[in-house]
Structure formats: C-alpha cells, structure tokens
Symmetry: C2
Subunit: 397 residues, 2 copies
C-alpha cells in the first residue's frame, strides 16, 4: 500500500457522553457510551470507549500534573495521521505522556478506534487490511447475555437465543457465584437445557471470586458435567497465580479472561502466566492497535483470541478488526441485550447471514455509519470548569 | 487490640484539588495534589492521591455506567469504619463496584490513606500498629531528585545532597535514556563523582525504554562500573519479560520497579515474574491496605520493599506505614525537590535525625497535621455539571 505524502493532521477530537434515561444496576455496559469523533484532512472517524464517560472526558483535558501526567489531548491534537505507523506513534506518545494518569488506556482506546476509522476512510481501505491482514474471515457470533435471576429464566433465555439461531450462547454475571455451589450448578444445568446438547455453552463469572481459588474450583464439576466450553473471568485480571492453578484443575473446561487488560503487556502476562485457553480483548479499553499486537502474540502462543464487546456496533466492528484475518479464531462476542442507545447510534449494523455467521465489515475504515439524530437523543450536557475557565462543554454534533 | 462497638460511619468525603501557580513540564509529581478529607464519629482523617486530580474527582462522582462501573462515592459514604477489617472490606467493595472504572485505584488510594488516618486517630494508634506491626524501625532516606540537564549539573546536585548529609541519592528522568549510551554513561559518572565513592547511588530511568531490552542493556556497563545499587523502571510496569531478562543480565546492579502497580496483584506479578531486587510501592496509587499486602508478600519472597513517594509528607507518612516494621527494608524514598505546595500543606514534617535516618511517625493515625491555610492558598475552584446538575463543586475547608 502506498500512502500519499499530503499533510494530514488531527484537527479536532470531540467527545460525546450518551446515556440512557434510566441506568439500571446490572452488568450491562450498553447503558451509556463515550463516543469519539476525530476530524482531519477533510475526513471524519468515529470510535467508542468502554469507559466511565465523565472520567474519560476529564482525562482528555485535565490540566497537566507533571511531564508524565498530561492531558491526553496534548498528544493527539495536531499530530500527523497519514499512515498506520502514525497511529502506533501516537499510541506510544499518549502512553508515555500520560503514563501516570490511570484512566489513559480507556480514553485512548476510543481515540485509537477513531484514528483507524479516519485513516481507513481516507485511504479507502478497511481497518483489518491496514492492520496487515489479507482477508477477513466470517466469525461465529455467540449471543452474549446476562444470567436470568433464577434457573427458569436462564433456561428461557437460552431457548430464546437458540430459537434466534445462535449456536453459541454466553451467560454471565447476575446471581452466578454469589449464592451456593448448588445454586450455580442449577443455573448451569438450566443454561445447558435451554441451549440443547449441541449448543456451545460459555459461562462468565464476572470476577466474582476475585482471587479465591477454592470458590472457583468448587464450580468446576457442574461446568464439566454440562460441557461448558469456557469459564470466563473467575478472578480479577491481575490474579495470575489463581488463574493458572484453576486452569490446571479445570481440564477440558478452558479458562477465558483478559477484558480487564488495558494494554498489550497486561494481556501478554495473562497469556504467559494465567493458563488461558481464550484471551478476550476489548478494543474499547485498550484500542485496536494494542489489540492487534495481542492477536498476533496469542496466535504465536496457541491461545485463542476472542473480542470482548458489550457496546454499539462501532465498537463491535473495531473489536473484530484485530483478528479478522485469523481463520482459527472463529468465535466472537455479539451483544444481544443491548439497550436502545447502543442499537440506535449506528445506522449500520453487523447482522448474521444465512449461515448464522457475521462478516467483518469491508467498507472503508470501520465500515459503520453513525446516526447523528440518534446520538443527539442520548447526548448529555456536560460542563467542567477549573478556576473559572471552561475546559469542557458538550460539543456540537 | 479491642475495638469498641460504637457505631462509626464515614459521614463525609471531601476532595481538594491543589495546584502550583506554574506547573513545569518536568517529572515532578509535587506540582499539584489531590487531598482527601474523611469525617466520621467526630474525627477527621486525611490522605493524598498521586493522581491527576480532576480525573480522580470525576471518578468519585461520575454517574453510574453499570453495576461494575459505579462512582467510588457509592462504596465509601455511609460505610461502617470501626476497625481495620472495615477498611479491607471497603477496599474490596470499591474495587468490585468500580471494577471497570480504570481510574479507581488512584482515587481509592487517597481515600484508603484517609480511612487509616481516621481510624488511627479515633483509636489513638499509629497506622503501622493497626497494620499488625509491633514496632517501627527507622529508615535511611535517599534523596530523590531529577538528573541535571547535563553531567555538570548532576555532579553539583549529587555533591549538594552529600553536603546535606544524605548517604543515598537517586537521580531520575530528565535527559537519561533519551540521548546516546555515552551521554548516559557521563551522567552516571557525574552522579557517582558527586556522591563520592561510599554513597549509595540509585538510578531511575522513568520507563524511558518502554519494553526495549537492548536499549536498557546497553546502559548496564556504566551502571556496573559506577556501582549503582539499582536501576529503576527501565520499562513500563507490565513488561515482565524484558524486566526479567534485564535482571539476569544486570548482575550486581539490582532492578527496581513497581510504582506503576495499582493493586496487590500487579505488584505480585512483578515480584513473581520480573526479577526485581526492589519492589517500589506508591501508597498514593494503590492505597496503604494493598501496599501492606505487597510488603508482606515481598518479605516472603526475599524481595526488598521500598516506598515510592514524590508528594507531601502526609503521603510520605502513609507510604512508610506498610513496611515500618520490616527492619531489613532499610531504604526509603525521600523527596528533596518538592514544590512549595507539597512542603507547606502539612504542618508536620518528617525530618532526619542526627544519624541521618528518619522515624516513621508514631502519633495517632498517620501522625501528620495538615495546614488548612496553606491548603487554601493552592486550592482550585472546580465545578462539574451533568445535565444541569452540579455533581462537584470545590468544598469548603
């Protein structure tokens, strides 16, 4: 690919905080959104952070604390953006200049998506190709949803997804791991019954046991009995030692995790030391650039790569790009319970084809068109002032 | 120790953003501050986050995104705080309820400090004792400062600290690692000359090589030649593999790192997999509670524990508490170039005694009195509104 030498810089970065009128106390990340719009060289790119929006907005514009704790804006605005190497350079710059600002990765993630989208649109190429992949293989989406409040509801939710044509279904969070071992076993049995014997059953514990190996280990028998393909996030991401021990004990049930990784290195640690069968990467938390590095490393190490996505279809597209060319990494997370906000803000949706699989978009950039009218419906009015100076006010769409 | 059963809850948490009139583009964390004041049961406790203040304020009050991405305030206000186990419980609660809010640890750190201070004041005990230690051993402070812009300035800075009576001096950041290998060698030679042959020379690369093993390895010869005790943060905290390889190559120069760890698990990963000789923990980034867990684990693993501190003396005191009882961990970081803000906001200072060592405060709590008039001089007026509702306005002191 040749890149023209025309001067292309990032001229504007706008952040938009969207929110459902009612946000429920459940583990559903689609209830709000932080969208990033990037403009430069006559084109526009979009991204979405999986992040607390107000906190990420603050990280973008917070006054400098010191040389390694700068507002993210300083390392993005005015930067040259003409080829993939520029995006990698800007990532390094942001991570160095905002090293001591913990929120950085979650904010950078959406900006990084938007940079790839913008560059792809300008060059007329899908992002997966700019990432060095020759083709994009279709993926088998797993319907990603929360456990029911009781086994009966879980059974019904499993059946419903099979009726919708999903071969693979994930149940997560909710009551799982919070009651007794028998309660959890009943949930798993119900999930399997709902799915049928041939469904791919995936279980997400949502870090409920933190680092308690015994608590997680007590759930393995039911997972094995009902042929769960993976147990996801038994522990917080950093708890490598309990992860590894559980993986040994789990046998044919593979351990999945990694959504808490917010850069390549954290994901690599899990691949190297946590005994993962599947590494799950959220491009809305570490960016497409680092996610691509993880996908390459995971393939080298024989660990399957799966996206983690619980937001809109701009984030879903971005999350598919880093492993689009990996035919062997066939599963992908596909949210099926997303709120109206997450469904409506994109005009384009990634839908299943007749074979039940989804195609990674092959339009320029991320291949997704946004819906400004829908975005406006959920947009929050924010104002942040420091010492009488307004640092942020919700921008015009 | 007995704890009375009197109902004691956290009634108020106030965050104060302080800032120097001019913040320079250097790696000096003392140029601003986020102070935390906690009130409950008729007592007050203070803490200090090493964090971008505006971002941490946002994390305290940001509207809930979902069940695992809540404002930190929700898990702190109104909680029972009568004994150490309550602090551990609140830490777990915050980390679970704000799991997906990346800034959480840096904000929690200052709250955690303030909880220990408050509890210690109420019980009339120093924090180190509440942490299960029988006595507090004096520490040998190393003068922590930035490299000079050139070797001549570094030499002068080394001499000045020896004249001030510091036996151990650390040089960090500035030009080190950014020019050639010879330039860096000249800096190390100058530092050694300034310190004299018997001084303890510590070198801080400030993550300048990110994960580039060869770049770091090229600096080892000069560090060995001039008998540096440690090379600190050659890489970002997550780069365990390069860390470990460098540690093998470094021989008698030990590798130090860990300030980027923002919970026990991240620090443990570095102890387990990075070949560290010294693990450096910033209580203003992970809190006293997790820092204590690290100190215990490091001692078990034969890795020396050192505080990382570049803020005021409330943070310095907090950073000393977790390893006060570890006689073998003798060195401690002691900022000598702190800005007026960081010096003035506490009325109490931790000063060296006649033997050049410092004592961990043995007054109740953190043993430090604040200076409200000084705090007021640097206090920033902040206002954050979402949808017309004011979520934060700088509180009264």
């Amino acid at each position: 690919m040749g890149y023209d030498g025309a001067m292309s810089t990032i001229e504007a970065v706008d952040l938009f905080y969207l929110r459902m009128p009612v946000v429920e106390d459940i583990a559903d990340n689609s209830q709000d959104s932080l969208l990033v719009r990037l403009a430069g060289g006559g084109a526009v790119g979009w991204g979405e952070c999986d992040a607390a929006p107000l906190v990420s907005i603050a990280s973008f514009l917070a006054p400098m604390s010191h040389a390694a704790c700068r507002p993210i804006a300083d390392s993005v605005l005015g930067q040259r953006l003409a080829e993939p190497a520029d995006i990698e350079r800007i990532n390094r710059l942001v991570r160095a200049n905002s090293l001591d600002l913990l929120q950085t990765s979650h904010t950078l993630a959406g900006i990084d998506m938007a940079m790839w989208d913008l560059l792809g649109r300008r060059l007329g190429e899908p992002v997966w190709r700019l990432l060095g992949q020759d083709r994009a293989y279709p993926k088998t989406p797993y319907a990603s949803q929360l456990f029911g409040d009781d086994p009966a509801e879980t059974l019904a939710k499993g059946r419903a997804q099979r009726e919708q044509g999903f071969r693979a279904v994930k149940f997560g969070w909710g009551p799982y791991g919070k009651g007794g071992v028998d309660d959890d076993a009943a949930q798993i049995a119900a999930a399997r019954e709902g799915l049928g014997a041939d469904g791919i059953l995936l279980v997400d514990a949502g870090t409920v046991w933190v680092d308690d190996l015994a608590a997680a280990g007590a759930r393995l028998a039911a997972l094995r009995q009902h042929h769960a393909t993976w147990l996801e996030e038994p522990f917080v991401s950093g708890a490598l030692e309990p992860y590894k021990r559980l993986a040994v004990a789990a046998g044919e049930v593979r351990i999945a995790g990694g959504e808490g990784a917010h850069d390549f290195h954290m994901a690599r640690q899990m691949i190297d030391h946590a005994g993962l069968g599947f590494v799950q990467i959220d491009a809305g938390r570490m960016g497409v650039t680092d996610a691509r590095r993880v996908a390459i490393y995971a393939a080298e190490q024989g660990v399957a790569y799966v996206n983690h996505t619980f937001n809109s279809h701009i984030a879903l597209s971005a999350s598919l790009q880093p492993f689009a060319g990996h035919a062997g990494d066939e599963l992908c997370e596909y949210p099926v319970e997303a709120r109206a906000l997450a469904r409506e803000i994109t005009a384009t949706h990634i839908e299943r084809g007749g074979d039940g699989r989804i195609a990674v978009p092959d339009g320029p950039g991320l291949g997704i068109e946004m819906d400004p009218a829908a975005i406006r419906r959920y947009l929050q009015d924010i104002e942040i002032t420091v010492g009488g100076e307004t640092l942020y006010r919700t921008p015009a769409l």
